[in-house]
């Protein structure tokens, strides 16, 4: 019986290895996503184009403009007339215009079509331009823990991990199982002495292996390319990730039992699994910002617990005991999912 199981695993591995395009996508997605989020999509401020409109030049104003040009986050694009200020913004030649009136008072005009740049830019620009005024006032002593430079990588790496494993384990396995239904091979598999669940477990093993490879690449990319500290113990990060992998695989099994075509499996995966992870897991939007009706929903999204635990382990460097609650919830969810999907698995066609 053991050799049987191995030949089932071999068959699944051949399916994956022969579909080179899909395999490349599966192996490259994590790297591409990491680099994309790491370098291209960042909410940090960079190269904000600032124009200046001055009515009457004074020493004070010149000093301020010099400070502006020297700042690495801003690019001084030149002087404009006050009436041209809006044209500059409209034509996107400037993201912001600083207007000095006759008395040397400042007004900031911002292109807020991109809310993120406008928000963080206006605060930063304000603090740069009015530094002297601020120094006279009492300052709060702000101390940012764990991520002092506010690097966005620290935020999205755990999120991407939560997303990738669902994508590969749940989506790919459910599609692979449903493919057998669609191509008619399931019919032949069912009319055999082997319990189909065995074949399906064999199907999951190669995807489990691929996910382990992905876990390795994600950890390597975050440590050496994105400089995420991985301050917690590597063992506990891997341990909780393996639990999450099992959970994702059983989620995939469940999706496959309720869908009859590959397209349906893809849609269910995208709508029921991807969207909640992106929107409701705290990966992009803080859970606290959700409307109150939606507030309880994240508690049943497995990715929320996983992402939270990974943040604690990876970024805050807490010991594994700090995430006991998350681990227990994830194990409980896996047990329920495995149970329900095995129960729902039909070894007939109707």
């Amino acid at each position: 019986m053991k050799t049987n199981f191995l030949s089932f695993v071999k068959k699944e591995a051949l399916h994956i290895l022969r579909d080179k395009r899909t395999m490349m996508i599966v192996l490259l997605i994590p790297i591409v996503l990491m680099i994309l989020f790491g370098f291209a999509i960042s909410t940090e401020l960079n190269n904000l184009n600032v124009a200046v409109s001055v009515q009457k030049h004074t020493e004070d104003i010149r000093g301020k403009i010099e400070k502006l040009s020297a700042n690495p986050y801003f690019t001084f694009v030149g002087y404009v007339n006050q009436k041209d200020a809006e044209t500059m913004l409209r034509s996107s030649k400037a993201d912001a215009v600083v207007v000095f009136d006759n008395e040397g008072k400042m007004q900031f005009l911002f292109d807020a079509s991109n809310t993120n740049t406008a928000m963080s830019g206006s605060i930063y620009l304000q603090s740069v331009m009015s530094e002297e005024n601020l120094s006279n006032q009492e300052l709060f002593n702000l101390h940012l823990l764990y991520n002092p430079q506010m690097k966005s990588a620290y935020n999205f790496v755990p999120g991407i991990m939560g997303l990738i494993f669902i994508l590969i384990c749940a989506m790919m396995t459910s599609v692979a199982i449903v493919r057998e239904k669609e191509s008619g091979t399931m019919e032949v598999l069912l009319v055999s002495p082997v319990r189909p669940i065995k074949i399906i477990l064999a199907k999951m093993i190669p995807y489990f292996v691929i996910s382990c490879i992905n876990l390795t690449t994600i950890l390597l990319v975050s440590r050496f390319l994105l400089d995420v500290p991985l301050s917690g113990s590597l063992f506990s990060i891997i341990f909780i990730s393996l639990i999450y992998l099992v959970l994702s695989l059983s989620l995939g099994l469940l999706v496959s039992t309720i869908s009859s075509s590959q397209v349906m499996a893809l849609l269910i995966s995208a709508m029921v699994m991807m969207m909640p992870i992106l929107m409701l897991s705290g990966m992009i939007f803080p859970i606290e910002n959700l409307p109150s009706v939606l507030q309880p929903v994240p508690y049943i999204v497995p990715a929320k617990w996983y992402i939270e635990a990974i943040r604690k382990l990876m970024i805050m460097g807490l010991p594994i005991t700090a995430v006991t609650k998350e681990i227990l919830i994830l194990i409980l969810m896996s047990v329920v999912l495995v149970f329900v999907s095995l129960k729902k698995f039909n070894d007939k066609l109707d």
């Binding site: 068959k11 051949l14 579909d19 009319v191 055999s192 002495p193 082997v194 007939k348 066609l349 109707d350």
Partner: protein
């Protein structure tokens, strides 16, 4: 003991009655044909017998095992080849065969004597992917996979659909070879001309079995007079013939039309009635399974 016993099986999908009170017996070692057009319920019956579907009503057993209660036992001892090509297109011929051997907990060499005559023909292509095989070769591979565990009963659902005439004939020769190994075969086909290759057949239509007998007895049971007619304008011939007195039935049959007539039919009168049709040919025809099928279907 009968290899297959079906008693009053019914199966309904929504409002469609796929099978309506079907009874059938197939003897051990027999090659039994289920003949009927698409939608006759052949595939549904196969799926019930291979335990993929549960019947709404009635009882059925395969090799002595009840299809509902002992379905796991049935799955061990039957071979099933679905109507659609259901092997892995991205695996090679050899890999498919190895996988199915593992599925049935056996080795290729254990049943090689059984599949050898068939496998010999596809062996030169054993490293080719199954998806790249021709229709005839796919069908041979599927048959090998269905035979790999030396089944007692073999279910072949429309095995010759979409296969060229030569391969079809070869395929029936292979089935004849399997008969010598005491394997019971239930095979379905929409081609009436293949019926004569079975020992016994059942004609079925719209979920009902019309008749069950040997092909010869079915043909012999045809007691109407039958003519084959042809002319230059076949379409006109068909519609005009139907209006002539003494004609029960007229339907297209290959290159000619078959004319079923009453006892008092007069050939001269018929030719006279249709004298405006050019090149009218009329001659006696011997009935075939298809004529019987059309007769039973219209009743």
């Amino acid at each position: 003991m009968n290899a297959i016993e079906i008693e009053n099986i019914s199966k309904q999908f929504g409002k469609v009655k796929a099978l309506d009170d079907v009874c059938l017996e197939v003897k051990e070692g027999e090659c039994f044909g289920l003949i009927g057009p698409d939608g006759a319920g052949k595939t549904t019956l196969f799926r019930i017998l291979t335990t993929l579907l549960s019947p709404d009503n009635g009882k059925a057993s395969v090799n002595g095992f009840d299809v509902k209660r002992d379905y796991l036992e049935i799955r061990k001892c039957v071979g099933y080849m679905p109507g659609r090509f259901s092997l892995y297109q991205d695996l090679s011929v050899e890999e498919n065969l190895e996988f199915f051997a593992a599925l049935f907990n056996t080795k290729i060499k254990d049943s090689y004597s059984l599949i050898e005559p068939i496998y010999k023909q596809i062996e030169p292509f054993k490293t080719r992917r199954a998806g790249k095989l021709s229709g005839g070769m796919k069908q041979k591979l599927a048959l090998c996979c269905a035979l790999i565990h030396y089944p007692k009963v073999l279910f072949l659902d429309e095995p010759t659909t979409g296969v060229d005439a030569v391969s079809r004939s070869e395929f029936w020769d292979m089935l004849a070879g399997l008969k010598a190994k005491r394997i019971t075969i239930l095979v379905s086909t929409p081609y009436m001309d293949e019926a004569s290759r079975c020992e016994r057949i059942a004609l079925c239509n719209e979920g009902k079995i019309l008749t069950t007998n040997t092909p010869k007895n079915i043909v012999d049971g045809y007691n109407d007079e039958l003519y084959a007619i042809s002319a230059d304008n076949m379409f006109e011939l068909l519609s005009l013939s139907r209006k002539v007195k003494g004609v029960k039935e007229c339907y297209p049959f290959g290159e000619s039309h078959h004319l079923v007539v009453e006892k008092d039919f007069d050939k001269e009168y018929f030719a006279n009635e249709l004298n405006q049709i050019k090149n009218l040919q009329i001659k006696k025809a011997s009935p075939s399974i298809e004529d019987m099928f059309i007769k039973l279907m219209k009743r």
